[in-house]
């Protein structure tokens, strides 16, 4: 089955929509421009002027969190192994929003007051420790890189079913991918965060259109949900010859409960530690913008839930996701399903929605990673007195470097490397939670103890993930669930590593306190955590009053 036929109508629709979106991306530079400064500061380039209202933030975060890889991987997991590895995405995105309702407005307020651009900025200001800040920043950058790479995997799935590329010529295969990324890199460079914000609106409308039509039309075509769930139950219950176990899970049994809920909870806690999520939050206009979004973003979760069920629809439809080299690749399931059962022009719209869905998060992720580098590595360690314009320039260049890195990742390495790294990234990023989120509420933890807890969590998580062996291929990094050491209670590794992290941080804090180790300067005040857009920023207060900080330790909430 080498060399698929090119579906010209679908391909032309995809190209047209891609070009339209690219033009929007370049025009976005002039959108909502306020100051005479242009895009010459991180606030303007990297946070879109910090002025996005409720609806733009809704589209931006929706486009940011529900990525092309999500659209491809969640139904793929449902198709291949069922509920535990696929449908957990639904409780995950349900419990996500109450959590961000609670924590994110506080992060917004303190960042607004102090001009923080990244979560590592906040950690640096709160704990007076650039090393802890560096740990948070590096974790963010390292976890983001494979995530960007996976967006390319999403685009690749679309290009493959469209018939582009061959298994022989590597360069020819990857040419459209490289082209798409050069365009993406160019408009991110010129327009900053405004470009993905604007494109996200188009992308989300296309996705909603595709999913709504598919969810209404396909079940009717395939004999209703009854038949579809019946086919899924049969397929997932079939015993796999190699392992002697069923192919997947249709409805989780008691043995799977702990894996199911820890996957959902751990992923929800981790998602807003990712730099691109923080960037989306800090780009909003007011303290309550993110809270209003907590009530309206679940619409995306509903869409994701139905999209996941399309994996079951594909089982009933008999979709054959055959890759260029003839092997079965579950990630092609959804693109193939659209191509098989819809007119070419509509399949083109749906495939374009997935491909554009890769561009929005890829842009935001590269901006977020670049901001981390500029603020918490370049400024903190090399140029403490850097001006705003240089910061923006450094960030622009780093955003290009990050994207090239991701591209090399996908082209030069095996696709499974990117997936393994992404799996590890989720485990690693959750280890920044104690420093960032606990720091929003209390300064009780010691900075060095947090650093040690972070290191312990990362080491434990990495080793545990390495030790998970795929029962069929015997490869390492075979999954993200492992028993808690000494028990047979299977949980998401990120969660057990997180628990270890907290324990180490707490115990070491007690030890360091007993040894009277200096705790570092906290530049934040209790008043900062409730500030709104109308409250003056710290620089403004200091400008009008030449306020000199009183000596001694600041009051800590």
């Amino acid at each position: 089955m080498n060399g698929r036929e090119i579906n010209w109508i679908a391909l032309i629709i995809v190209i047209l929509l891609f070009v339209a979106v690219a033009i929007m991306g370049f025009m976005a530079a002039r959108w909502r421009r306020t100051g005479e400064q242009g895009l010459h500061s991180l606030d303007e380039w990297g946070l879109g002027g910090r002025g996005f209202g409720t609806w733009i933030t809704w589209f931006l975060l929706g486009g940011d969190l529900y990525t092309a890889y999500t659209f491809v991987a969640v139904p793929a997991a449902m198709w291949a192994t069922g509920a535990v590895s696929g449908f957990f995405a639904v409780p995950y995105t349900i419990v996500l929003y109450p959590i961000i309702f609670i924590i994110m407005s506080r992060l917004w307020s303190v960042s607004h007051r102090h001009g923080f651009v990244t979560s590592a900025d906040f950690v640096g200001g709160r704990y007076g420790s650039r090393w802890l800040s560096l740990a948070v920043a590096v974790t963010g950058i390292v976890a983001t890189m494979p995530y960007i790479a996976l967006q390319l995997v999403g685009i690749k799935a679309v290009l493959t079913v469209l018939g582009l590329g061959s298994s022989q010529n590597m360069l020819l295969t990857d040419m459209p991918l490289i082209l798409a990324f050069v365009v993406l890199a160019a408009y991110t460079y010129t327009s900053g965060l405004r470009a993905p914000a604007m494109i996200a609106v188009v992308k989300d409308l296309l996705i909603y259109l595709s999913v709504i039509v598919a969810v209404i039309y396909l079940p009717i075509k395939f004999g209703g949900w009854d038949t579809i769930f019946g086919a899924a139950e049969t397929k997932l219950g079939t015993v796999n010859q190699a392992t002697g176990k069923p192919a997947g899970v249709f409805i989780p049994g008691p043995g799977n409960y702990s894996a199911y809920w820890t996957l959902a909870l751990g992923s929800a806690l981790a998602l807003f530690m990712y730099p691109h999520s923080v960037t989306g939050v800090l780009a909003s206009k007011a303290r309550n913008t993110i809270r209003r979004n907590a009530a309206i973003l679940p619409l995306y979760s509903l869409m994701l839930g139905f999209l996941a069920l399309l994996g079951f629809v594909a089982i009933q439809a008999g979709t054959k996701p055959v890759d260029l080299d003839g092997s079965v690749n579950p990630q092609l399931v959804v693109p193939q399903l659209f191509l098989d059962h819809f007119p070419a022009w509509f399949a083109g719209i749906a495939l374009a929605a997935i491909a554009i869905g890769a561009l929005v998060p890829a842009a935001i992720m590269s901006i977020a990673a670049a901001n981390l580098f500029t603020r918490n590595v370049y400024r903190d360690f090399f140029r403490p007195n850097v001006d705003a314009k240089t910061e923006a320039n450094v960030s622009k260049i780093v955003s290009l470097v990050v994207k090239v890195g991701a591209l090399i990742f996908v082209i030069a390495m095996d696709q499974s490397t990117a997936i393994n790294m992404q799996l590890l990234g989720g485990i690693w990023i959750l280890q920044t939670f104690p420093a960032v989120v606990v720091g929003l509420y209390t300064r009780w933890f010691d900075r060095w103890a947090l650093l040690a807890g972070w290191a312990a969590g990362i080491a434990f998580g990495t080793i545990s993930a390495y030790n998970v062996v795929n029962p069929v291929t015997h490869a390492h990094f075979g999954g993200s669930v492992a028993p808690i050491p000494g028990t047979d209670f299977s949980v998401y590794i990120a969660v057990s590593a997180f628990a270890l992290n907290l324990i180490v941080s707490a115990l070491l804090t007690l030890v360091l306190r007993a040894l009277k180790v200096p705790t570092g300067e906290d530049t934040t005040r209790p008043s900062d955590y409730g500030a709104d857009e109308t409250d003056p920023k710290i620089v403004e207060i200091e400008r009008t009053h030449r306020f000199v900080e009183p000596g001694g330790a600041p009051p800590v909430a």
């Binding site: 639904v90 409780p91 349900i94 419990v95 929003y97 109450p98 959590i99 309702f101 609670i102 407005s105 102090h114 001009g115 923080f116 900025d121 640096g124 200001g125 007076g128 209703g224 009854d226 038949t227 769930f229 409805i251 989780p252 008691p254 799977n256 409960y257 199911y260 809920w261 959902a264 909870l265 309550n288 809270r291 209003r292 907590a294 009530a295 309206i296 679940p298 979760s301 509903l302 839930g305 139905f306 403490p384 530049t523 005040r525 209790p526 008043s527 900062d528 409730g530 709104d532 409250d535 710290i538 620089v539 207060i541 200091e542 400008r543 009008t544 009053h545 030449r546 900080e549 909430a557």
Partner: protein
């Protein structure tokens, strides 16, 4: 910014203080909180976080709705429920927030003697 804007790097001469209003970094941005709205909002949000994380309460096939096993439609049903709970919590918290802000601003206007000592109580 963070730690680099500490004890004044600029050494400006003291600019005129705006009439009647003395803001410092300690000036509360919000007045003291009333407990009730936060407690209720907290319970609603806790329910929206905890209940979807209990698969033992919904991991069944029956009853089916429109051919969909309970396990699947129940979780999809939680999406609008969670949105509604967040919506109510939003209303409770922002109403109280507005009151606290108004209280803080009224308090800081006559100013002078009390800046920096008022209790804060920023709970969320």
């Amino acid at each position: 910014m963070s730690r680099h804007d500490g004890p004044d790097p600029n050494h400006h001469p003291n600019p005129p203080v705006p009439r009647g209003r003395r803001l410092t970094r300690e000036t509360p941005t919000r007045g003291p909180a009333r407990r009730t709205p936060y407690v209720i909002a907290g319970i609603l949000l806790a329910a929206a976080i905890l209940l979807p994380l209990l698969p033992q309460t919904y991991s069944f096939a029956a009853p089916r709705v429109g051919g969909m096993p309970f396990f699947y439609w129940y979780q999809l049903l939680w999406v609008p429920i969670s949105a509604a709970l967040s919506g109510i919590a939003y209303w409770l918290v922002t109403t109280e927030d507005r009151r606290r802000r108004a209280a803080a601003r009224a308090a800081s206007l006559p100013a002078e003697g009390q800046a920096g000592t008022a209790s804060e109580g920023d709970q969320r």
